[in-house]
Symmetry: D2
Subunit: 338 residues, 4 copies
């Protein structure tokens, strides 16, 4: 097999993003079919533009004989169930994060994929970003010795709609979850304890939905390192995505990608470009690298770079952080994972 | 017409680059056919991989009924002649630079396209780079007043093969030509006079081919600005591509794109990433933007962003620079253009 | 009075630093006498080199008729007592930090200075640094709206001697105290609660002295902002001193001062200069600005820029942080301040 | 002798700058007397503030028995004559640039100092700047191989008064002279040929005084390198002082020192600090290092770091550049030096 036949499940924003990458930028992939239970005209038009057939029968798409693997891009609620269905059909699985918001559901889905002998990769796309990867690779190389402090600053450019906030599961699960993945990736260790402070700092009505817009989370790792994440839902200047690891012998850190490298100097001052606006701009190439890596793992039968456990742990850490914030105390991961 | 039907003429390195962009990253384009007079198995395999038919009959490709426009990516010697053939067939034309190394040939080709009423865009891709465009747009906006000094630093990462150098036409025509385009673009003016210093600074045998590896060229512009370009054929650290315009009220300048934003600090020192290696990495997005802009110009019948004159002038300036270097004196453009 | 007559109390490292600045770089000051209870030959030689008389009678120096103000640079244990003595003599007071490690002693010393009507400025020198001041001034100007998140990264270049650690009072009191001052300065608010994680990450025997080398401290402020500090006793690459405040409408942050702006690029990579090594290099100009500001406050009878309360609060926050670390829980400042 | 006794000759702006450094920041120096033929009350007041006697008898100051060396800071016209007088008195000499605008006068002054066996250091202060020194040291170390291209960008923040321009000797002699010194310092070579373009780009009436405000100068060096300088009399954003040397194996370059490292990001954009305003801010520490180096050279009898030839050559290059600009042709240094 030279190319992997793929069924795209879910044609919302993130589904179309993956679909276009698979169609045009992943030579190892062939987009066989796109499915969405709520198929509408816009989706049909989109499918046409990328030259793929579409259907509202998601199960049929999974079982399509030319399909070797599925990309699960539906709403979160359906992820675990589709993993199980794909596993049952013997199809390899790329699943957007999070797998589920219930740990037992996640464990079951992972077990099903393992038992079926199919690959399962979870969509923590930042691991494929050139910047964060440079931090990870430096730490993992050991050139700086073992990690002491892991830092992630992660700010969205602007508030999401309150409709989204209403059902998002809260900042730790909808936003910080990516950062919880990052600290595991960058520390090369496991989180054992977390402690969170949170606040509504803006004028937006997060309080009405029992949510916050600003958070700081301290973490302890099993390798002795400490960590800290700071989050904001609205920077107003772009997608702020900086990571850093201080180690025994030194420190590696990355700053944001900017729109360009221009400096404009005059009597009024000196201006430089803003960070790229949001994840579509910043992680554009990372999404392509992520899809390529998944296809390579299947085609060459190598371990996926973001596995089931990598899908499970950030959810558990998010639960611990939420508990810490609610109870204003440090929370052990063992309280969550049992 | 929603999509432009395109014949790719020439399937060498630059042809395949354009072909892949047209196939996958330019929604406004449909790659109809790819032609190369020296069609070989590798080209056939490549054409297959992008899903386009191929032929060794370049004229037939031009005249293909589904073809609205051609991308001329052959060796330089054939450019002008293919422009004429495409113009005769009423097809719009994107042509890689330079159009020709003979000014009269260039003028004829431009005239043919004009007379046929077809668009002609020349492949000076750097105009579509996010960095240089930011410089141009700042100057063109007038916010800093009129330009005083235009600076371009342009260094290739490493020596080309001496086989290439043998027939390249010399540094001013094969390398600085892009920078001559840049200074016109960034100054929003026309070059009137140039003066060049050159040298062989490396150990490579450029002298055997009457060529040099290092050059500095001063320029005067019709808007009163001065300019300077410095070139090297081998930086060894990557593709160095910096531009700057000092104006009445201030200065705008851009630095290189780096591989990532990582800083690694230790007792040994602090290291950062290198510039992207060469034009494929640095101008990857610019090539896509260039092709999209051409298609848009045709589809919406708007002026192309790099026209025939923009194809002619850098060749004339290169000739003046070569003359200046040979005769060690300042040379007026009028000596070349008559 | 055009110049302030000053008695330097204490001729250790920090005393000599202030003494040289007062002698050569603070036009508003005249160094009248230098005193140290443990006067030795090196101190005498130093006093000679700056052209000032010296004595081992500290009280006599305070009471010298030409002395308008004292610079208290002795060991911490003597600070409060010398403040009281200077206040009793009606002399203005600059006192190195911390005033004392006992809150009641600090309050008494402050009260004595207030009752005597003399100025009391505490030596939190970072407030006079060009970088941190730019952050503060931006926040204080209100141009970015109110602060949401205050961040301080503060790392010493290398381990102190274990002799120092033995009696230093622990990381929160000997090192983070500067950062506790910084977050108050940068947030334009008061700390109300802290929560600290700490660890010994290096191989150094901090554990033998009940101390740590790595700490992260979260903070809450009375203006609704959150904060975080991360500390390390040994970066190995220099003095890492970065601060940042995210506000309603944007973010202001500063990076380190580097030894120079050189970039060296080659096939091996790109290197840049290291941060300046330690506080003597980084805060050199800040020490001068600090002394000038104190003299100006006295000469013009304006409020000092770092007052008694500014001396008290960081000690209280350090106590809260130490308690938080020991008890692994979030601690209210009111638990410390009563 | 532990300290060098110094007579300051000339108490204008640059004289007072050196005088304050000698009084307060050069431990190896003792300011014995300050002299100015046009002594006025402001000068007397200044001398008082630094604690030095003053006189209008310059020759008496040179011959003062406690004076070991002189700092010549008068108007340019008197430099050579005072060098001769100091040499005759056997006093070591620091002389501000340029020594004279007549090459024979310069040669005579240098010869007098040599014959008298006294040190002569010329005030090209930029050699003591941390940034340019880092470039020089990298080139001189040989780690990057031999130099190919030397670049200097040098822009003053704003126009000088036309009163100054009237008698300044023109841009090449009053401004570029520093850059001609820089290219010699950075290239570790000698200039053999120059070619200059110049223009009046601003609205200021430089034409009335046969002068220009914008210049580009190409250079050839005896070690095979090429060079280029670009100048502007008015950047409006500060003192732009960037240097760069591309070598066999890579490139070293320095950017400006900024007022601080703050970045302020908001929806409106991202602003950073401006370069330091002018030479007083930028080269403040370099002036101190320059004076210390001179004193060390005398006290330890080591060669000065900027000698008589270093004083002569930039004047000769400036003459060649002026000739090149006037005659619009490349000019050999041998045409000037004979």
């Amino acid at each position: 097999m030279k190319q992997l036949g793929i069924a795209l499940l879910g044609m919302g924003r993130i589904g179309r993003l993956h679909g276009e990458n698979l169609a045009f930028n992943v030579p190892q992939a062939r987009l066989v079919i796109a499915a969405d239970a709520y198929l509408n005209d816009a989706m049909k038009e989109w499918a046409d533009s990328v030259g793929v057939n579409c259907t509202n029968d998601v199960i049929a798409a999974i079982n399509h004989p030319d399909v070797d693997a599925v990309f699960i891009c539906t709403s979160t609620a359906a992820h675990a169930e589709l993993i199980k269905a794909a596993a049952a059909a013997g199809k390899h699985i790329f699943c957007e994060k999070p797998i589920h918001t219930d740990l037992d559901q996640i464990k079951e889905a992972i077990a099903d994929a393992e038992n079926a002998g199919v690959k399962l990769q979870v969509g923590f796309v930042r691991r494929f970003d050139h910047n964060h990867k440079a931090v990870h690779d430096t730490v993992a190389s050991g050139v700086l010795g073992k990690p002491h402090v892991v830092k992630v600053c992660s700010r969205d450019p602007d508030h999401q709609s309150m409709d989204y906030i209403k059902t998002s599961g809260g900042i730790f699960l909808d936003m910080t979850i990516h950062d919880f993945d990052m600290v595991r990736y960058l520390s090369c260790g496991e989180v054992t304890e977390v402690c969170a402070y949170g606040a509504v700092c803006s004028d937006a009505p997060y309080g009405d939905y029992d949510d916050i817009d600003t958070a700081i989370i301290m973490l302890k790792f099993d390798n002795g390192a400490l960590g800290v994440i700071d989050n904001s839902r609205a920077s107003h200047y772009g997608y702020d995505q900086r990571t850093e690891v201080q180690c025994d012998k030194g420190c590696v850190r990355v700053d944001n990608d900017l729109e360009n490298t221009a400096q404009i100097a005059s009597a009024e001052g000196v201006s430089v470009a803003k960070p790229t606006w949001f994840f579509l701009e910043r992680y554009n190439n990372a999404f392509i690298a992520e899809a390529r890596a998944f296809c390579d793992s299947v085609l060459k039968d190598t371990p996926v770079l973001v596995n089931g456990k990598d899908g499970l742990m950030p959810v558990a850490i998010a639960m611990a952080a939420a508990k810490s914030y609610r109870e204003n105390r440090s929370v052990l991961l063992s309280e969550i994972l049992g």
